[in-house]
Every structure is written in structure tokens, then in C-alpha cells.
Amino acid sequence: MLRKIRFKSIRTSMIIYFSCLVLLIVTAFMFFSIKYTKENLMENSEENSRRLIEQVNLSIENYVDHMENISHVVVSNRDMREYLFGDDETGVWPHLKEEFQTILQVRKDIYNIAILGNNGRYFINGGNRAMNTRAQLEKKEWYREAKEAGSEIVISSSHVQNLVKGDYKWVVTLSRGIQNPKTQQVEGLFILDLNYDVINDLCESIHLGNKGYVYIVDQKGEIVYHPQQQLILSGVKNELLKEVLNQKTGISYKDENGENKIYTTFRSGKTGWTIVGVVYTSELVKREQDMRAMYIGMALALIVLAGVIAIFLSDSITKPIKQLQAGMKKVQEGRFQPVYIDAGGDNEIASLNRSFNRMTEHIDELMKRNMAEQVEKRKSELKALQSQINPHFLYNTLDSIIWMIETDDAQQAIKMTSILARFFRQAIGNSDVFVTISQELEYTKNYLLIQQMRYRDKVTFDIQVNPDILECHIIKLIMQPLVENALYHGLKYKEGCGHIWITGYRLENKVILKVMDDGIGMDTETLQKLFRNKNKTGGKHNGVGLGNIQNRLKLYYGEEYGIQVDSEREIGTAITIEIPFLLPERKEDTDEKA
């Protein structure tokens, strides 16, 4: 998929890849964080519940311990036995009163302290409280259990104590049978009531979230404490009562409102009660939602931040690349300037830039050198052309002059020598590339005159050039080689006298020059050969080929200019030169351009 997407710039792809990477990492991180924190939250909650209910249990056992201690003290008390089973009932009364009152004063959590004899004697609290004659104790569960247990300690569930007349109080009762020392039989009951408020306050003070609560059931699964005891007993609400007895811990239960609760239980060895902590899953979930929202928010913020950083980073990385790109574009357009980028430091881009600049410099240098070489090459080419004036031509001319002197034709010799001198002055003396057409024609004329004198009646020529082009520029050594060509390829093999016409005129912005002969003409094969051998040295005749002329014209004037050869066997050859009409003022420019 990714492979199919191609971003238009490195910058975009960097931003997107970087962002994707960050997104991936942050998402993964968030996922694990949430998972871990969630587990942690659950564990913490359970741990917290367990700690709290253990604390409740500890407090309750503490109370029970104290009550047991009191029971030990009271049961082993001789005054008490004397009071219940002895003869001197009234004698020990003040002692008993003092003892019971002390206990009640020290322990505010003790609500009632009482001894009941099977014989009907009893002593309650300060001894000044009457027993509720309608109490019907034998109908009460706690009393029956206490009786059945003999001299064992029994801890009741929570109940309303109606033992004392006109007093109805919620208590938890610790009871213990009292032995009559005479008969060694259990003939009395010691009763110690723990104020239920103690347990109530204890359980209410425990906070398991805002909604969670603590409740206690006894070993029969009956409620000792529950904040909503009435609702449960009248069936408005359900609660796990017997169900929690044998459960280890961590029960999950859905109540009638569809609320999920987690129950943590702890069974007290001392009382046999099971203390249960209830936590609402929804509260945990809410905390979890808060946490998740926080994580997601943080992740989003991080991603945004990463995005911004990605933009800046990619900017700073791609900026030098862009600068380099712009520089390269310039180079591509032919401007060889070094590119300066702020790559900062010594990284790959900077080194790339350095290499690029070195390369540009190098190319620039090469180009310049190449240009210079070209100029140099043309100059030497010209020189070569100039020096290429066939030495045979010189020997032959000189032979002709000698022959003229020998025949005492001094006039002719002088004439020829002077023409030759002029010819060479023109050929060698002027090192300029450009000459005027008149100069070129003069040069050509001198050459033709010399040839005419040598071959006498073999050649005649006629130059008819429009005077308005005479001042026009032309590259040196264009016309003469063409004439030489005409002589050696056209007229040389012709029987009888041959004729050469040279014409010239202006056609709009062009100058047309023509060299025509009525020689034997050339076939295309010869023509091609002439064009090909542009610089053939060592040949018998002039080495400047048509190809060379053509090249030079095109080089200096452009592609639309040059020469055109029309030739026909036995009729002759016509060579047309086309050059632009340029006057000497522009000589400088063209020279420079060259």
C-alpha cells in the first residue's frame, strides 16, 4: 500500500512517515499503559478493599478480645458466684455493683453487663435496673445458643436487647455459662452487650469509593450489619448473604439494577463473621475512563507536538536540499554558479553541496577551456589554410617567372611577380578572420591572374559583383579555394579555353556570391569526395575542401548559411555562397563572438 503512494517531496514524506511512526509508537504505548493501569487499578481496588475490611475485622476482634477478657475476670469472680449461688446475696451486692460500674465506665462500648442465675437471681449493670419480665429470653436465638454452649463463650449476631426493662438497644452479645462451684453445673449466664453503634460507625466510616459499602454476615448467613438491612430483609433489594460464606474473595455480581459489584470477603476466625467489602465496578470504570481520557488526550497532544516538530525538522533537513535543487536547476540552464546552502555542519548534504560546487567549478573551467581551445583551433585552422597555399602553385609560378625572364619577357615577369607579391601579402599579411568582399575578390582575382598568365589561353574569367556588397564582410579564404576547385576539377581537364564567372549581389539581408565554370562538371561521387576531404594535406592541389568551407560558413554565420553546389557533367559547376549582409561596424561583435 505504502509503496503505491509517492509523495511529491521529501519534506511531505518525512512529515508523514515521522507522524505515522510517532502515531504508531504513541498508540502502542497508550494501549499498554491503559492495559497496565487498568489492571493496576483493579488490583489496587481489591487490595484497598481487602485492607479496609481487614481493618474492620481487626477492630471488631479487638472489641471481642476485650469482652472476652472482661468475661474471664467476671466469671472467675468469687463475689459474683456468691451472689448468684451463695447464701449472702445482699452482702456481696456492693462489691458487684462497684465492679460492674467500673467496667461500664472504662468501656464505653459496653452497653450492658449482666449475670442471670437459673434460680432467678440476676444483676444488671449497676444493679439498679430491673429485668424486663416480658423479655421471653428463651425465644431469643442468642439466648438459646448461649444456653446450649454451656460454659463456652458465644458471640451472637446483632440483635435488639430487651433484657432491661424499657430499654431496647441494638447490641452484639457475648455470653458465657457460669458454673455453680458447689454442683459443678452450669447454672447461670454471663452477658456482655457490645454497643452496636460501635460496629455501625466502624462500617460506615469505611469508604470504598463513593457508593461502595461494607457489610457483615454471621456464620449462618444472617446480617450482622448492612447499611440497607431493611431493604434486604423486606426483599426490596438482594444481597449476597449465604453466598459469601464459603467464597474466598473477589466475587463479581450483578444486582437488580444491572450494576456490577465486586465483593471482597474476609472471614474472622474469632467471631465467625464474614466481613464483605463491596465496590461498584462503575466507579472503577469511571476512574478508568478518566484515566483513558487523560491518556488519549496526552497521546493526541504528543502527536500534535510530534507533527509540529516533524514539520520543523523536515524543513530544516530539506531546506539545503531545496537550495541545492535550485542551484542544480540553474546549472542545468547553463549558469555555472556555485550554490551556497546553509546545511549547517558537515553532514551528507553539505558534502554533497561541496562536491556539487566542485563539479560545477570543474565543468565551468572545462567549458571555458574548451571554448578557448575552439577559438585557438579555428585560428590555427585558418593559419593552416593560409599556409596550405599549395607550394606547387608557388614553384610553378616561380618557374613561369623564370621562364619569362629567360625569354626576355621582362614586362610579363614583372607583372607576374608583382601580382604574386600582392597575392602573398594578402594571404599572409592579414591575420584577421574577416575581410571585406572586395578584399577577398581582389585576392581571388590576383590568384586567377597568376593562373591565367601561367596557362595563357587556358582560362578566362569575369568578375561581376554588385558594388553595394563590396564593403560587406566575409570570412577570409572562401572564394579563392572555390576558384581553385573550379580550375583543378572543372577546367583542367577541359579541352580548349575555360571560363570562370564570379557574380555577387544582395538579396534582402543576404549576400549571394556565385562561382561558376564551364568545365567538365562533377558527378555526385566526386562532389561528396570534395565535401569529405575538408583538409587534405600533401595532395597535389589545394587542400581546402568544400566541406571545410561549408563548415566554416555554418560555424560563423549559422546553419541557414553555407554553400550549395550545382554541377552537371560537360556543362559545368556552379557554387553559390550565401552569407548574411554584414557591414564592418559589426566586425568587432562578430569577432568577439567567434
Binding site: N162, Q230, A293, I311
Partner: protein
């Protein structure tokens, strides 16, 4: 080109930022929506009045369970309906979602209650009704049913020569009428045994005096039904004083420690006991449901329990009779 890209980035940034903000806002809303605000106006809040304290603790228990904010505005003495009307005004100013009210008067308070409706606050009635149908929901004891329960129980004490007196409380109060009607239904064919109907005006003294008067004038009366706590206790006091225990059966309504003692002593034979904790709990539970836009039943009846000397100390009943 570059501008275009920056635009995309900017859009992405805005999108991310708005997501972030949106999630925060949504979370906040979610939380605020959850807290329902309720004002509960009972008839009285008095530490010695088990019935109302029980109802208030039931209400608090529900508020805690459903995470509602509850404010309790209660007169300190019962029957102070002028004070209760002031509390209604105060409650409206607090602008809660629901007001839970136990109106002291059946018809005199209608104007006050109308203000609750006008303020757009939902109303739940607890324990007592109004003469106009203004509440979304009423939670109360089914007085006819309770009366019937009492009447049925009275059949147990029916002998050939049984003559019945009814000690009602406020003449023309809806509860009194309904309970009496229920008793008559419960008695069925023995309805004609009803000899006298008296009104204690919810006063121990009046009940006591009237009973004494009655028993002097009509010694043949041997079954008395007290239709509320004041009537029942007043009757019991008179019977006890005249030492007519076991000669006259007493069935009564509601309980306090004195009533329980008479029950234990055998002066009172049966008490029909309401469940105020449940009433308070259910009332607030329904109030929360109404505030959350749920449909609730118009009338929810809370049960009553028949208490005799034999079942005072059962697990369920002792919590009912001795709530604290």
C-alpha cells in the same frame, strides 16, 4: 506548493486539537450529568421520631447509592405546615432536579406545591398525597390495603359478643378515611360490629381521654383499632390504666418504644407497621430515575408488616421496629 502543504498540516493540527478539547468537554458533561440534585422535605426531623428518621436515612441511603446530591429541609416539629411551605420556596430557589415532599396537609398546601411545578421542577410525594395530581410519582403505604390487613387481623380476635371501636385521627384526612375504609373491608361481614368511630386529632391525650370516656360509657366494647400511632398509644395508655388488659384487644398502627412495650406486655395485640426506610429509599430512587428521564409508575406502594408479640424480634422486624 508549500502553502498547500502547510494548509493540510494546519487542518490536521486543528483536527487533533479539536478532538482533544472535545473529549475533555464530553468527559466533563458526562460527569455533570450524572449528579442529580434532590431536595427532600419530610414532615419532621426529630431524633426521637423513629418513623421520620428512618425515612430520612432511607432517603440518604438511596442518594448515596445513586450518587445524588440530597438536601434535607425539615420542620422541627410535626404538623408545622407553614414552615414546610417556606421550605418549599427555599427548595425552589436551590433549583434541584426533583423535590421529594411529604406534605403535611392534604389540600391547604396546593398553592405552594404549584410553584414547584411552575419552576419546572419534578415532584415526588412521599408518605402522603395531595388533593391535586401534581406529582410524577407517589411513594406511600397503601392505606386501604393496610387497613384491610388490620381488619383481617381483627377477625382473629372476633368473638360472638365483640363490639368494635375505631380510634381514627383526623377527620376527613385522606389517610384516616382510607385506613378506616380498609378496616371495614377487612372485617367483611363483621363490619356491623363497629360500634363507634372516634377521632384523636393525632394527640395522645385526646385518644387517652376519649378512650376512657368511651369505656366508661360503653363497657361492652372489647376490640379497639387505633388508626395511627397517637391513637394507638393513647388507647393503650387508657386500657392499661383501667387495667383492662386481656379484656380488651387493641390493634394499632405504627410503633414507638412505648407501643412495643405495650405489645410485649400484651396490652396491644397487633401493630400494623409501615416501612419508612423503604419509603425514603424508594422515593429517592424514583426521584433519580425521573431526573434521568426514565418512566416510573405513578404510585408505588410500600408494604406494611403485621407485628405481634411473637415476631417482634425476628431479624426483619427488629430492624423495622428499632431502626437505630
Amino acid at each position: 506548493m508549500k502553502k498547500h502543504k502547510n494548509g493540510i498540516v494546519l487542518v490536521l493540527l486543528l483536527l487533533a486539537a479539536s478532538c482533544f478539547v472535545f473529549s475533555l468537554i464530553r468527559l466533563g458533561e458526562f460527569r455533570e450529568n450524572k449528579k442529580v440534585k434532590i431536595v427532600f422535605i419530610p414532615k419532621v426531623m426529630d431524633e426521637t421520631n423513629d418513623f421520620w428518621m428512618s425515612m430520612i436515612s432511607g432517603a440518604k441511603s438511596a442518594a448515596r447509592e445513586y450518587q445524588a446530591d440530597i438536601v434535607i429541609l425539615a420542620p422541627q416539629i410535626e404538623n408545622d405546615y407553614v414552615r414546610q411551605e417556606k421550605y418549599i420556596d427555599e427548595a425552589i430557589k436551590l433549583n434541584p432536579d426533583v423535590i421529594a415532599l411529604s406534605p403535611i396537609r392534604y389540600s391547604e398546601m396546593t398553592d405552594s406545591v404549584w410553584k414547584i411545578k411552575e419552576a419546572g421542577i419534578k415532584l415526588v410525594l412521599l408518605d402522603s398525597m395531595l388533593d391535586e395530581d401534581l406529582a410524577e410519582c407517589c411513594v406511600s403505604t397503601d392505606n386501604i390495603e393496610a387497613g384491610t390487613q388490620m381488619g383481617n387481623k381483627m377477625l382473629d380476635y372476633m368473638k360472638d359478643d365483640t363490639k368494635i371501636a375505631i380510634m381514627s385521627f383526623v377527620k376527613a384526612s385522606s389517610t384516616a378515611i382510607e385506613r378506616e375504609q380498609g378496616v371495614r373491608t377487612g372485617l367483611g361481614e363483621y363490619e356491623n360490629r363497629i360500634d363507634t368511630v372516634l377521632y384523636s386529632n393525632s394527640d395522645y391525650e385526646q385518644a387517652y381521654e376519649q378512650t376512657k370516656q368511651l369505656l366508661k360509657e360503653k363497657p361492652e366494647i372489647n376490640l379497639i383499632a387505633g388508626l395511627n400511632l397517637y391513637s394507638t398509644v393513647g388507647v393503650a395508655r387508657a386500657v392499661r390504666e383501667m387495667d383492662l388488659k386481656h379484656k380488651i384487644y387493641i390493634v394499632g398502627f405504627d410503633n414507638d418504644v412505648e407501643g412495643i412495650q405495650y405489645l410485649e406486655e400484651g396490652i396491644i395485640d397487633t401493630l400494623i407497621v409501615q416501612k419508612p426506610f423503604n419509603m425514603g429509599y424508594l422515593g429517592i430512587q424514583k426521584a433519580v430515575e425521573i431526573a434521568k428521564g426514565k418512566k416510573v409508575e405513578k404510585i408505588i406502594y410500600s408494604e406494611t408488616e403485621i407485628i405481634t408479640v411473637d415476631n417482634i424480634y425476628t431479624d426483619e422486624n427488629q430492624k423495622l421496629l428499632f431502626p437505630f
